[in-house]
Symmetry: C2
Subunit: 176 residues, 2 copies
Amino acid sequence: MQEVPLPEVYQLLEPGPVVLLTTTDRGRANVMTMSWHMMVEFTPPLIACVVSEGDYSFQALRKHRECVIAIPAVELAEKVVAVGNTHGRDTDKFAAIGLTPVPASKVAPPLVQECFANLECRVIDTRLVNRFNLFVLEVVAAWRDPKQKAPRTIHHRGYGRFTVDGETITLASKMP
Amino acid sequence: MQEVPLPEVYQLLEPGPVVLLTTTDRGRANVMTMSWHMMVEFTPPLIACVVSEGDYSFQALRKHRECVIAIPAVELAEKVVAVGNTHGRDTDKFAAIGLTPVPASKVAPPLVQECFANLECRVIDTRLVNRFNLFVLEVVAAWRDPKQKAPRTIHHRGYGRFTVDGETITLASKMP
């Protein structure tokens, strides 16, 4: 994997793709699907996300304050849905679904080898966790798979309906 | 416009489209573009968003605690970028760019007639405004233009590059 400069990380998440989120607790890694996330700052890259109390990952994230956000291309859509349909308490989802955990550089939770990008994150603010399950994360390292040249991401519209990335248009914007 | 049931609102924002945000201050409406938003809760629908202190809309949103999130289809892309390229202090962006403000039902800021969906919002949590410019909103009314049947949204990848919605795929998901 190639390192992504941290000031470019927002370009990966700002379009709103479905992502995977990995955590580790008691030496065991888990993975969930997540669509409720947004950028909060460019540099250092900050991300907000909502991880429901009902998700097995919630306790691990709150306790260890580390996670990896992995971004899958459309070719992984069936595995992404399988991750969402399976409960981490009972199952090693990586083995059961066929995803490969890879050690990260700065956090305990693993990268997901099959994803085209992986963001290593630490929790930096928990003030909105009790009311909203909302965590603020800082990206401390970011990676990209150079073999996946033009990945098309998926965007969840509810109940298993996903929009796949279509064409790209470029307009003269003053915004980063 | 047709009313959207509030429990269905998340389906409009979860895919991560670029949106417009309207505010009102001293009897004058303003509009900005925004990509940093996410769903926080299904029902009542809660949204988090980041409005930079540097944006003219920031003070209006903090002071009056109301806004409208309007979702444009790709046909409005040039106007969306023009909104982002113009500063609201100097210009009536609606008139200059050719967008039509329409009175909302429960908040002072206007709907945007040309957008296929409009969400009337009130600010319900400001604890992360000082550190992150992050507002939590509750959607109190939502509208959809029935004439725009299958709108394709745009997703910002940085510096005026947008991905347009492509095909839709449906998988057997247990998730809402």
